[in-house]
């Protein structure tokens, strides 16, 4: 018996010859979400089932206690984070610790989150405006995402030693990125989340390396997201991409700067775009910015007496449409 391959070379040659002229099945850039879903081996779900899956994924972080390590990667940049989350007294508390040398920890509760850092000497405490983090990535009203994303179900996979179901959120338009997820079979907690562009290319990824998940005895209730109103808005936002609403607005200082700016946040539930408004320093032309892999896009321009900066992990059309639809509010 030859010690070589058992598929004879002629046999393999025939196989290759027969298949090399077949049209490629992996259609990468087709408009139809159905075809895209089917080509990748995914089944698009009807609205009801899609909403059901989204609901379960959104509730999962409130029904379990979990502890683990996940890896975040974006281009060449990678971070390892230890995370633990606990449901107690009807609320959820979590803690994230960087494992890459920076002495930084975030503590999140229902009322907000706090960053503790120990950078050479003293301990610093800073407020952070969001209490969300992987794997708690879905908004409370997650079912509404079906208006903007097709939900497609894939096969079973394994992440961190646990069985999980592949699930794709395919954008219905060009205003948002897609998300490919792997959802824990037992608890529906996302174990892997990859933000992808229109060609399916990964933009950023969160993956658990190890995780323990236990069902909590009593589930927590997510706190109400209070509507934010901004009183003396200098500008009107006249144009938002479909599905985006204002979820936050505040006057704040930017890190390492002393002046105050207005910071508004728009979201469709998964995608976040920020708008910053400040007095214009000097007349300038509009400038567009693009981050690695095109994940983050930015526009800065002058509107009247103000310098406006729009940026987010969203395709350029979303950034542009917000940036274009700004006007000074007439007194």
């Amino acid at each position: 018996m030859t010690a070589g391959g058992s598929l004879s070379r002629t046999g393999l040659g025939c196989l290759l010859a027969a298949l090399v002229f077949t049209a490629p099945v992996l259609a990468a850039q087709d408009d139809s979400a159905q075809l895209a879903a089917g080509a990748k081996g995914f089944q698009a779900l009807p609205q009801e089932q899609a909403a059901d899956w989204l609901k379960r994924m959104a509730e999962a972080p409130f029904r379990v206690n979990y502890e683990g390590v996940f890896v975040y990667s974006h281009g060449e940049s990678m971070q390892t984070v230890r995370v633990s989350s606990r449901v107690a007294g009807g609320t959820k508390e979590s803690r994230l610790v960087s494992m890459d040398g920076t002495q930084r920890e975030i503590r999140c509760t229902q009322s907000g989150s706090v960053i503790l850092s120990t950078d050479g000497g003293g301990r610093q405490v800073e407020r952070r405006f969001s209490k969300r983090h992987f794997p708690d990535i879905f908004p409370e009203q997650a079912a509404q995402l079906t208006a903007w994303y097709t939900v497609a179900l894939g096969g079973i996979s394994r992440v961190a030693g646990r069985e999980c179901r592949e699930l794709a959120l395919i954008p219905k338009d060009a205003f948002r990125w897609g998300h490919n997820l792997c959802i824990d079979q037992k608890t529906h907690l996302p174990l892997k989340a990859v933000m992808v562009n229109e060609s399916g290319r990964p933009l950023m990824e969160h993956t658990f390396a190890e995780v323990q998940i236990h069902k909590a005895r009593v589930r927590a209730v997510p706190s109400q997201e209070l509507p934010h109103a901004l009183d003396s808005a200098a500008l009107q936002v006249r144009n938002l991409p479909p599905g985006f609403t204002k979820i936050g607005a505040m006057k704040r200082k930017l890190p390492n700067r002393s002046d105050e700016v207005e910071h508004w946040v728009f979201s469709d539930g998964l995608t976040h775009i920020s708008l910053f408004i400040e007095p214009a320093a000097a007349p300038s032309e509009p400038v567009k910015g693009e981050g690695p892999r095109g994940m983050v896009n930015l526009l800065t321009r002058q509107v009247g007496a103000y310098q406006v900066t729009v940026l987010g992990e969203a395709p350029w059309p979303a950034i542009e449409s917000i940036g274009l639809g700004l006007a000074e509010r007439r007194p």
Binding site: M1, T2, A3, G4, G5, S6, L7, R9, L12, L15, L16, L19, V20, T22, P24, V25, L26, A39, K40, G41, G154, G155, S157, E166
Partner: protein, 200 residues
């Protein structure tokens, strides 16, 4: 797409100080290296010495490895150079070998059993048994598993290339190759006297 950076993640781990990651790379390539070297060098003891020195050199040179070639190509180049220097130092002749020669895994020629730690009838028998068990196991695989593992291990194709050829999703390719490996490994274990739990 033949020169993919297959082992980049492992190399990166080694550079960050994880010696066990280098162990994984060794485990993956050491028999191939020995096979290559034994085409150039007759004496099995020499081959082992050269192979050992090659891995040590590669480990030390990793910080300078720029990743502009595949790791195993870089490793083999070190191997060829080490072999040449070794033989020169020992005053031995070396069969003519093209400077550009890169490892050719699938020339389909039945190799004489190249190197054994100790060339005994027992070790030669074991080697034959392993080859037999693996090939039998592959013959008995369902066709799509057999095709997938063959395209990967013998033709050296990427999952994407295999997916295009087999007209199936990449995830299916990945699963088929995994299942093929598991089925073959199950047939191997009794011969090697290992259980799944033991570290080799």
């Amino acid at each position: 797409m033949s020169e993919r950076d297959i082992d980049r993640q492992l190399v990166e781990r080694v550079r960050q100080g994880d010696k066990r990651a280098f162990d994984l790379l060794v485990e993956k390539y050491w028999r191939r290296l020995i096979r290559l070297l034994s085409r150039m060098v007759r004496d099995p003891d020499d081959v082992q010495d050269i192979a050992q020195e090659t891995f040590i050199k590669a480990y030390r040179a990793l910080p300078q490895f720029r990743g502009d070639a595949a790791f195993y190509t870089w490793l083999y180049r070190i191997g060829v150079n080490t072999a040449k220097n070794y033989l020169v130092a020992k005053g031995k002749a070396m069969p003519t070998l093209s400077q550009q020669a890169l490892p050719d895994e699938d020339d389909g020629v039945e190799e004489r059993l190249a190197v054994q730690d100790v060339s005994t009838p027992e070790s030669e028998l074991l080697s034959k048994q392993v080859a037999l068990a693996v090939n039998e196991a592959v013959e008995n695989l369902p066709e799509e598993l057999r095709t997938a593992i063959t395209l990967r291990e013998i033709e050296g194709l990427s999952y994407e290339e295999i997916a295009n050829l087999m007209a199936c999703p990449i995830g299916t390719v990945r699963s088929r190759i995994f299942r093929a490996r598991e089925a073959i490994a199950a047939k191997l274990r009794p011969i090697l006297g290992t259980s799944e739990d033991k570290r080799w």
